[in-house]
């Protein structure tokens, strides 16, 4: 987690001002989509507080800064989910730790990643603690799903929203990482997290999946009943596991989003860059209402996938529903 790029310069500037004025609060919640630089900013904040050489941000060179960025500093405590959730025992240990003053100074910094993964017990036991921590402690919580937190937690922290990087920014940064323009366009829509996108781009099935989904859409758009068979012959062999099933649906959503947005604004940057022209044609043909219907079908399909309905069944159901709608079109 090196600070190679400065994501969120605005937020950092804000914190810099707070540090100068000594108005840093005791508890913050960093909220935003994955890849918006929450953890990065949190560690940066820790460095800023601990670094002896603070001016215009942490020096990032001194012993302290380096230990923080390599997660070695004893007074910067990071807490993340063990397995699928953050359990109450972890929080208890953390609180025990907090009773003691810092190892190297009086200050302590706590970073709890993905607080939405806390069990109810853990979250509740954190309440009193984050309301009035004793001593010189700064707590930063990060989350991607604010609405899943307890309202009692939310009311005790200062919320810092991390806006998503704009799509253009994301495409550019992906291209910097050596992805092709076509890939960067799709991936930047698929996820806002650059690292995750690069991870995905290494996955070979993705490339074939992108094309396969496009063909699937095309057969559907031609009102071809073969689309139903296509699911079985072309899509299913490519995908394995829940994440990839969702990927199929997400890719399909991107096509629909592309068509919808191209219709609305001519200079929308399309995700399916490769098939841009065809998408523009489709945009001429399909009405927004129909597109909305199709999107709803896919979203519903994703819900089925979430509740562990067999993927092929979901895809087939989705296909049939979309065919009926497509047939109503010109």
């Amino acid at each position: 987690m090196s600070t190679k790029t400065t994501k969120q310069p605005e937020i950092k500037k804000q914190f810099m001002k707070l540090i100068e004025k000594e108005k840093v609060q005791h508890a913050y919640l960093f909220e935003g989509a994955t890849g918006t630089g929450k953890t990065e900013t949190a560690l940066w904040l820790a460095q800023s507080l601990f670094c002896g050489d603070f001016s215009e941000g942490p020096c990032e060179n001194c012993h302290i800064c380096q230990r923080i960025s390599s997660h070695q500093h004893p007074d910067v405590i990071e807490l993340a989910a063990e397995g699928i959730s953050i359990k109450i025992n972890q929080v208890r240990e953390l609180k025990q730790e907090m009773m003691k003053s810092g190892m190297e100074g009086r200050k302590k910094f706590i970073l709890v990643k993905d607080v939405e993964k806390m069990t109810t017990q853990a979250a509740n036991s954190l309440l009193k603690f984050i309301e009035e921590p004793e001593g010189d402690i700064l707590i930063v919580l990060t989350t991607t799903a604010k609405h899943r937190l307890l309202p009692t937690i939310l009311s005790r922290v200062q919320l810092v929203h991390f806006p998503r990087l704009s799509k253009e920014q994301r495409v550019l940064s992906l291209q910097d990482e050596g992805l092709s323009k076509d890939q960067a366009a799709v991936l930047s829509q698929l996820t806002s997290d650059t690292e995750q996108a690069i991870e995905l781009s290494k996955n070979e099935t993705l490339t074939s999946l992108i094309d396969a989904v496009w063909k699937w859409y095309n057969t559907l758009s031609k009102k071809d009943e073969q689309a139903f068979v296509y699911v079985h012959t072309e899509i299913m062999p490519l995908v394995k596991g829940k994440a990839e099933y969702h990927l199929v649906m997400d890719l399909f959503l991107i096509i629909l989003q592309d068509i919808l947005n191209v219709q609305m604004s001519k200079n929308y940057s399309v995700g399916y860059l490769k098939y841009q022209n065809k998408i523009r044609q489709e945009a001429e043909r399909l009405s927004v209402g129909i597109l909305a219907d199709l999107m709803e079908i896919i979203l519903r399909g994703k819900k089925y996938l979430d509740s562990n309905v067999a993927a092929q069944g979901v895809f087939e159901k989705v296909t049939i529903q979309m065919l009926t709608i497509m047939k109503k079109t010109i």
Binding site: S125, S155, V288, A292, K303
Partner: protein, 577 residues
């Protein structure tokens, strides 16, 4: 860090500072001043309403050496050490982390010892809903009859999780959400004390975002102050709460009401790009719609939850139809529920925006289905007509050639299909010719100018039909439009709503209604040629002759066809017109 959050600095230290809970604080004060305190209390209510604060004040007031009307003096040693959390006799327990039977046993044991400094030993058990069942039950007996001079105060946000046996042993106080007015009053007080400038509108929007929690309000206020160099402005507030400005909201709702999908989606993307919270947006739209409805009925500004009455708002309320607003609320509500479990908030919002812009289309939706029915029927008619034509041609052929039906059949089908296409606008040829007779280049140019706007002004379903249309000829009172596909041509010709809509629009823009004639684009050249031919030799009576032939033949065919004759006859009447 060294800076203390506003909600910690300004934690109320007297009952009169606890905002918005007059009923509770007065009861407690009276009980204290009359010495009628109970040994167990349960404070319940949403976050940030003052439960823990009230519990601490109560502990102070009980132990204070010189209380005044039930209020603690906040000056004596005891009061001070309680405020600082140092007094050993006032014990604050976090039930969420100490939720086992063990911890409760510990409390029970220690409760037996008399208080050391103060008069009463007060146990404040916060977040008490997290106690385990065993712990609750272990507490029961102590709670019912605690030792002398021991008082329990339980505080929770979730009273429904507490066993009835506990509730029945305590005096229960329900803390209500704090009203926006009370929150604003308190914030104004704090800001004045701190000498911070502020915009009253900003406080209003903070109070609304806080949803009845004082701590939420102060947290946001804190953030706004540090964000904006020590003053409170509306812009900063909106940025921090992630709410949208009223102007933007009005734009969005108006776009929905005017069926302007494009603008709606544009605004949506803009808001998302600015980092507005999707959930908050949906909530705001719902609340705003509610305000519109309420203001329409009551004209009472005080009932509004999030909007301010200004010119644009009142204009919107005057123009908005309540039914549409209901639909907006309905759609947004559904979206909100679905978004909760999904990571695709943006897609849901896009879908919702499209749906919002289509709301009014309800009458249009029905017409659409009618149109569909119409086209179904006309298709049926068409097929019957085709059969007729086929037969007619066959007979013609037979009459002419007198033989070889096999060879005739193949071309027959082709021609019949063409004929089917032709029948659609054969109905119109008369009309088309009429328009062509008076057509001028000027009229056409005028129409071509307004055509894209006209298509945009139509509802979505109509747009879909008209998208490929092109005006090719126009007279002062009529226009000829070509379509790329026969089916569209047919639909447009049958859709009276569409024709009306086009007429209405033209009336607005070019000042007069125009008769609409439709022709498939690939047939247009033929039609034009036919017109030129007709102009050359003014004898267009072939139609009638074919008509006579048809009726002759239909006498001979079966019932299905005879029914078609009726229908076809009708069509003929219109042609004759």
């Amino acid at each position: 860090m060294s800076y203390q959050a506003l909600y910690r600095v300004w934690r109320p230290q007297q009952f009169k500072d606890v905002a918005g809970q007059e009923a509770v604080t007065r009861t407690l004060k009276n009980a204290l001043s009359h010495g009628n305190t109970s040994h167990a209390y349960l404070f319940s209510g949403p976050r940030g309403t003052g439960k823990t604060s009230a519990a601490k004040i109560f502990a102070k007031a009980m132990n204070c050496k010189n209380p005044k009307d039930g209020e603690p003096c906040n000056e004596c040693d005891l009061c001070r050490s309680i405020t600082q959390g140092k007094l050993g006799d006032v014990i604050e327990i976090d039930a969420a982390s100490n939720n086992g039977v063990e911890e409760i046993r510990d409390i029970r044991e220690k409760a037996n010892y008399a208080p050391t400094e103060a008069e009463y030993k007060v146990y404040i058990i916060d977040e008490v809903h997290m106690l385990s069942m065993g712990a609750f039950n272990a507490l029961l007996k102590t709670l019912e009859e605690p030792p002398m001079n021991v008082v329990f105060i339980l505080a929770t946000t979730e009273p429904h999780k507490i066993p009835l046996t506990i509730i029945s042993r305590t005096q229960r106080f329900d803390f209500r959400r704090i009203s926006a007015q009370d929150i604003i009053r308190r914030m104004t007080y704090i800001l004045n004390e701190k000498n911070v400038e502020f915009d009253p509108d900003a406080l209003m929007s903070i109070a609304k975002a806080a949803e009845g929690g004082m701590r939420d309000a102060l947290s946001i206020l804190d953030q706004v102050i540090s964000f904006s160099d020590g003053s409170v402005t509306l812009d900063d507030t909106l940025r921090i709460t992630g709410s949208i400005t009223q102007d933007l909201m009005i734009d969005y709702i108006s776009a929905a009401l005017n069926h302007d999908t494009e603008k709606g989606l544009g605004l949506l993307h803009q808001m998302m790009q600015e980092g507005k919270d999707a959930n908050r947006l949906v909530e705001d739209v719902i609340l705003f719609s509610r305000d519109i409805l309420i203001y329409q009925k009551t004209k009472d500004e005080n009932l509004l939850k999030m909007s301010k009455v200004d010119e644009r708002f009142s204009e919107l309320t005057v123009n908005a139809q309540p039914e549409k607003i209901y639909d907006i609320i309905k759609i947004m509500n559904q979206t909100q529920q679905e978004m909760r479990t999904s990571t695709h908030a943006e897609v849901y919002l896009e879908v919702a925006t499209v749906r919002l812009a289509q709301i009014k289309s309800e009458p249009v939706v029905t017409t659409q289905s009618e149109v569909k029915k119409d086209t179904d029927e006309s298709q049926e008619i068409q097929s019957l007509k085709n059969k007729l034509k086929q037969m007619q041609k066959a007979i013609e052929q037979m009459q002419k050639n007198g033989s070889d039906s096999e060879t005739v059949r193949a071309p027959k089908r082709k021609t019949s299909r063409k004929a089917a296409g032709q029948t659609v606008f054969k109905v119109n040829t008369h009309q088309v010719f009429g328009i062509l007779k008076q057509a001028t280049r000027n009229d056409l140019a005028k129409l071509k100018d307004v055509w894209p706007d006209l298509i945009n002004a139509l509802s979505t379903s109509q747009k879909a039909i008209m998208n490929t249309s092109k005006p090719v000829a126009a007279s002062p009172h009529g226009l000829v439009v070509t379509f790329d596909y026969d089916i569209l041509c047919e639909r447009a010709a049958n859709d009276t709503f569409l024709i009306d809509a086009v007429g209405d629009y033209l009336e607005k823009v070019i000042g007069h209604r125009a008769e609409l004639a439709t022709v498939p684009s690939d047939k247009w050249m033929d039609v034009r040629q036919a017109y030129i031919d007709q102009m050359k030799n003014e004898n267009g009576n072939q139609e009638e002759s074919t008509k006579q032939e048809e009726t002759k033949e239909t006498d001979e065919v079966d019932a299905v066809v005879s029914e078609a004759v009726n229908l076809f006859g009708k069509e003929n009447v219109t042609i004759a017109d």
